[in-house]
Amino acid sequence: MSVDTGFSGPDEATGQGPVTATSRVAPSGRGRWLAFWGPPAAVLAAFLAIWYGVSYLLLDPRRRFLVPPPHEVIRVSFFDPFNLKELMGALWLSTRVAFIGLAIAIVIGLLLAVAMNRAKWIERSLYPYAVLTQTIPILAMVPLFGFWFGFGNFSRTLVVVLFAIFPIVANTLFGLQSVQREHHDLFTLHGATRMTRLWKLEFPAALPSVFTGLRIAAGLAVIGAIVGDTFFKQGEPGIGILIDRYQSRLQSEQMVGAIILSSLLGIVVFWFFGFLARRVVGGWHESAGGPDT
């Protein structure tokens, strides 16, 4: 992925580079910095220009609330202490739900994948239902969850878990099953127990896939927390409920502000797992954007 390779340049991971000095001609520090940040910055500038264009040129003042200009969004959402406090409280709530849900999904997902990897019959019994979490409209079940479990954190966390678990199960299982037959042979020859095999062979071999799954799951967890929230409409407000409320009050500046915040949360989470993957498997696996990819 281009996002990753860009990061591998200035990464400190280059320190543990290989001996086969594949001397890639690196541009100077500033040139590389510009080559890396320049293009996305240009796109951002173009985007903001179009945004301003729509606000001030396309819309007449009475309808400007439909697309409030960027600086108004920032002023109203983030520089008004009351609004900021409201947004941050909601962001904190959604983030907490997303992280708790993600943590639960990771634990259950990994255990499920390990169990499925252990016996074909377990895989055959469970995998279809893991797929089901992808195909049933989870959001449509929100009223049902609310009905059963109330509109508190439990239901919201449950939605996040259902959103996030499948990529973890699927990718971990794929990783565990991707171990070369000869590697298994070696462990068999030297009398490895199942546990040893899992910890010293299957799990490390699966790590790159696990991280791929985690990154997808993390993004979905954030979406699950925020979008699920809009559907709950009740209880302590998370970002989703706020967006819903702003919409009904035509507070478009804060609405856009809330959307920006939730996107930032998604990006931070995605970066975090990318960073973690590079730290953990970057030294030996190409997909993690290691030193010489």
Binding site: P18, L186, F187, H190, G191, A205
Partner: protein, 258 residues
């Protein structure tokens, strides 16, 4: 070098009682393929026996059975040692481990104490000349170096019987010949018995005390060529006339019997 041209069977390492015996061994897979049918041979302690045969003749199956990874469907297999080294064509290093940690793997799986693992790994890396690469990850190494690490890993358990499944088949010719020489060096100093599967007649004749030629599937042993050249064998042996003649005979049988 004198050794290369001397035809002197007396310098072949002393042969003792059979370390490995295959008596009329057959192997039929679940899908009905018959990989081996009546494979019959013996490997005595100290021998270096190569097995050549057309691809798909069950050479690898032979090694899997000898190592215990796979069971024979018929016949009798007897292995007189449990100290078996097994080297695959792929170096099968764990990419997340450093060279040192890879070489320690087998002693780790066997539950040897940490100090002992370190000591053995260091000694084995020394033998293959890769001590200074102990801290590197496998992907930083060339194909030949990875294969040396793979050899070192097996050497840590001081195998009595060393099984090789086309270990140098994926390497370029120069690297391959260098590793042939190095492996022979190890053979002479470490005193293991070797069963070496290869598809290269040159390699088989150059390395071995004996060359077994197998038929196409289902595989069985067609003939058994003693190789009379003394050890240590110089690389120049490869251009010796008698070497060429013997290689020619093996080759002819291989083509005729395929």
């Amino acid at each position: 070098m004198a050794g290369s041209s001397a035809v002197d069977a007396s310098s072949i390492p002393t042969q003792t009682a059979p370390l490995l015996t295959f008596a009329d061994v057959s192997k039929r897979f679940r899908d009905g393929t018959v990989a081996l049918d009546g494979a019959d041979f013996r490997v005595a302690g100290g021998e270096f026996v190569s097995v050549v045969g057309p691809s798909g003749c069950g050479k690898s199956t032979l090694l899997r059975i000898a190592s215990g990874l796979s069971d024979a469907s018929g016949g009798k297999v007897q292995v007189e040692t449990d100290k078996i080294g097994y080297v695959f064509q792929d170096p099968t290093l764990l990419p997340w481990r450093t060279v040192q940690a890879n070489v320690e793997l087998f002693s780790e799986l066997r539950g040897l104490p940490k100090e002992e693992r370190r000591r053995r790994a260091a000694a084995a890396l020394e033998l293959v000349g890769l001590s200074e690469f102990a801290g590197h990850r496998p992907r930083a190494l060339s194909g030949g170096m990875r294969m040396r690490v793979s050899l070192a890993r097996s050497l840590t358990l001081e195998p009595e019987l060393f099984l090789f499944d086309e270990p140098f088949g994926a390497l370029d010719e120069i690297t391959r010949e260098r590793l042939n020489d190095e492996l022979l060096q190890l053979y002479l100093t470490q005193r293991f018995t070797a069963l070496f599967v290869t598809h290269s007649v040159m390699e088989a004749v150059f390395m071995s005390t004996r060359v077994l030629v197998m038929s196409g599937r289902p595989g069985r042993v067609l003939d058994d060529f003693p190789v009379p050249f003394a050890y240590p064998r110089s690389p120049r042996l490869r251009f010796d006339e008698r070497f060429a003649r013997l290689a020619g005979q093996v080759s002819a049988l291989l083509r005729g019997g395929g």
